[in-house]
Symmetry: D2
Subunit: 333 residues, 4 copies
């Protein structure tokens, strides 16, 4: 199924080396002005070649033993979808990942931009940033940083000094023909109380599914996440406090969701990305005849996908939230 | 929406203090023998009161300032769904969590048992176990343990010594009127190649959504997960090797899924649980009138949900896999 | 799939001779008082044995050649689902229609009653009646009759004289061991403008699907329907006229829907029912071994299902409208 | 929702006067050769200007009182979706029907052509024809005609003499600035036993929903349909007979479906079309200010949509059947 969402829906089409890729947005409310500059700006944040960390040059994969490009059709790239794709459908485009390619996320960024146009009228914002590259971790809490500053550097980390160290690592890894993983964090502010459902449609279950559908993502956590597994209830409960016109919480360890439903606090979460599988090094593999062979990708390529994945995380979050906002209108008087 | 799945579907109903809870299973293939003993055995693994770690006694929440049980209707329990539920629908059953209650997972265990009856005919097994309680972590890899031994202790940890330390911690925490979180790990063996889709329906995205829909879950990771974010591609790629009748991988750091589609290796993942929110201690909170008050739960209760959540994790995994197995039949010749 | 609807959803379960039948309603808005008397009254209108036209006695089907009830398991009843059911799933309950049985409509009547409780607060009413039994047709337009009077006779026809003739025909047919078909008409009043969608989700497409999912239904038409196919545009167009606070139409030949969306006028439609397939006569058929045999149903049974199908038509219409009402809230400010 | 189908899915986009219209096909099995000539041939059957009965010239609607084209934005065309569209979304493109336009069916014809490419490999064919124009009815049964001959005349009626009379009527109506309705019949041959479901997903319910989603359709019936409502069970039951390798039916009054599931016989049905609403005559109407005005469409236009709707009926039928064929693979061994 190539459709995301239930009411606000994005259907994407096209393969990495096909004639075109695109998408159809369904369920966009009428009379929202379509700000094309904003949409293009989101696409620009995702496009290749923005900096020396991300390059537009197409990677060429070669079967080193034969030196023959056409023989690529017979080789399975390690940790790519080549093999599973071929086994599932009995056919694949050996020139690239087909529907598995990250090029498909172009359509997601456009869909997310439409969602943001709607959400910003409600005062809802979605901000993601690179919080870890390899072993380099941005310390502290998102409240410690001015998130807008993430756009001031190529890594999209809101702390200039950490960004510099991350960039150095990426360049070093790139020189070695290797790649590196990392973590993108995200915070959604301005949410109303009441988004989500108590059973299967928990808000964080839907956000998690959205994030895990992004290429190279291996994990999702929100609130205290995995770190909170080591804690006690007395450390993690958020106590209610009186607030003007209602109630609030003294802390937000829950990550803005209780019982699957947003409580009006910031929703924040983290998304783990594996290092990309395409290496500029020789790797042993097997061809479709079961014979051992050696593969090496040529040209330049992204040694770390995180800087360009930041707008994709934001887009998927925005579409998920918008879908829940529209869905929640059903239950409002 | 109270339905899980697309082809094999479970629709659950009922509230924690309502007249009944239950579910409807749709899409079960015909002519699978219904082994009622097996289904009951799964329910027994989830039921309260199996050991001194899990108790059947109902917790009573009291508003300590008034000493009046009926006033509970006016108090929001910290980190529970009371407040969000009330705000979303304008009504709630103050006696419990309503649809947010973990009692709803009874129906999930039954649905999962039906899925397992089908999957075991295909040679697919689903095994989950407690791999962390608070700071106590089961070291090593799932291949280092005989997973069947997890059923030999109340914690459901396959290592007896670690299980004992986990049990001690749970009892200690319980005495303090506190609770503790942890991690449940799971492995699915015997999967065919080809389950899942390359875009939004990635197999791990659907497993993640399933796990995140379980009460108290705060995170999901598969393969190398968050740890792999610190690694390089050369450390994480799984190289193909020739195998009799096809190809295999030398390692399985990917967690059995590539490009969203199962590759025939074990699918393994980890699920983070927060400490349960109901404490046998006084906690400050606010009533519906915005007045400060103090709440204390009475009686005995689970200080750690993980032992009883193990069969719920297995059930949700089994239903997800079964749904994908049925879905994949569409694309097979 | 055993679920009807997208937001207001009914999932039914159970077979005609199984242990229980029932359903789960999902998407019912909170804080609508559940009027159990009203729900029971709807069930009473559907139940067998209300009059001499509808009987509670179970029909027994017998294989006349063998005289052995158990041999029924090997015989396919003409124009029943026995054969298709057996071929699709390789198994069936020879004692009855399984999921194909009209007993399943009990759950639909309950679901419809819940929908009506909601709709009546909005001033929306759903009224169906028997407008044809065999060749006996109720003349004229629904506006010519006091529809409430349909409940004054066993046939559920709003004209007493026509009802009497219909009843006579049913009793005559019954004596002959035969059955007879007919038409149920329905009108929905009080609808807001704006229900439905312009493409695949046209309001009448959804009403049609709902009606065609009722046992024994062979046709659906709305507005001028098939009769209008013989007419010209100048005869059928509904001209707009000024009205206090807006506009109205001089006529309503469209049946209250334009471009798939309700226009605020009455939505009216007709549903064709075939004669029931169970005859109290000998019928030639074939057993599972492909041998010719003769079948005769015993006991008493409904020679005409229409009187009892009236509340089922109303229920399906009410659920369809409610689903559209809830869906339309998404697009309202 | 702009998506049709559950497994084989078509999502359409674009408005009548927008920049483009199109669609996305999802769920097409791999390795079916895409025969572009066949697809284009289907589009050619739907395109305007094929004959003197169907014209490519765009109709212009004018507000006669003002003589000002721009004022069209303020006038509601009788029996069009203008008013309902405007009320639902608060906006519309006054130049045409937007999403309500029959131009959207271009995408359906393409989707249907893909489905036919798949179905023809299974030996399933879908043939529709014009069986009524105004009061002129094609007598007899589909078995009485060579359906391939429907393509020999502009009306798409398999009987040349009746086609001539229909064409004469259409030209006469056209001269009068009027329009005329009719009926399209369709037969699906070569179906396997087992398509469809016993409850809400009855095969005919899905076919009916598909047909009723086509512009101008007012009714759907299959098998004996409305005519059968006047009959008795003894006249309508299809008796089973032994057949080589299984069983067959002596008659097919059921229309190839029993209990919602195909029985291997021809599935045949009829679809009623109203006369198109755009008249080349003055019609009284009301503008958005509630003032009376007069509207007259200019230019030439289709006085009868049936000839061009034949491929649309076939396309919707093909997509519905294909979706059911794929769905049924789930339940097969």
């Amino acid at each position: 199924m190539n459709t995301f969402g239930t009411i606000f829906r994005l259907t994407t089409f096209g393969e990495s080396h096909g004639e075109a890729i695109g998408g159809v947005i369904d369920g966009m409310p009428a009379r929202i002005a379509v700000d094309m500059d904003f949409i293009q700006a989101q696409l620009d944040r995702r496009r290749p070649g923005q900096s020396n960390l991300t390059t537009s040059r197409i990677v060429r994969n070669e079967n080193q033993r034969s030196g023959d490009y056409d023989n690529m059709r017979d080789v399975f790239r390690p940790s790519h979808a080549d093999y599973t794709y071929q086994q599932k459908w009995g056919i694949r485009d050996h020139r690239g990942g087909g529907r598995s390619s990250a090029r498909e996320t172009i359509s997601r960024v456009v869909g997310g931009a439409f969602a943001m146009l709607y959400l910003r009228e409600m005062g809802i914002t979605v901000e993601a940033w690179t919080s870890q590259v390899g072993p380099i971790v941005l310390e502290g809490d998102y409240k410690d940083y001015n998130l807008a500053r993430r756009e001031e550097n190529a890594v999209r980390c809101p702390d200039g000094e950490t960004a510099r160290r991350m960039a150095d690592l990426i360049l070093e890894v790139q020189k070695e023909g290797d790649t590196v993983g990392g973590v993108i964090s995200c915070v959604i502010k301005g949410l109303p109380v009441g988004l989500g459902e108590p059973a299967f449609g928990k808000l964080h279950a839907r956000l998690g599914a959205a994030m895990l559908s992004i290429n190279a993502v291996k994990g999702f956590e929100y609130g205290r996440g995995f770190a909170g597994a080591a804690e006690r209830g007395s450390q993690q409960n958020d106590l209610y406090e009186p607030a003007p016109g209602g109630i609030t919480v003294a802390t937000n360890r829950s990550g803005g969701i209780q019982g699957g439903i947003s409580n009006g606090q910031d929703v924040y979460f983290r998304v783990a990305f594996k290092p990309v599988a395409t290496l500029l090094r020789e790797q042993e593999t097997v061809d479709v005849n079961g014979e051992k062979t050696v593969l090496k990708a040529r040209g330049r390529h992204d040694a770390c996908v995180l800087p360009r994945a930041v707008p994709v995380v934001e887009a998927m979050a925005a579409m998920t939230i918008m879908d829940n906002v529209l869905q929640n209108k059903i239950w409002q008087n």
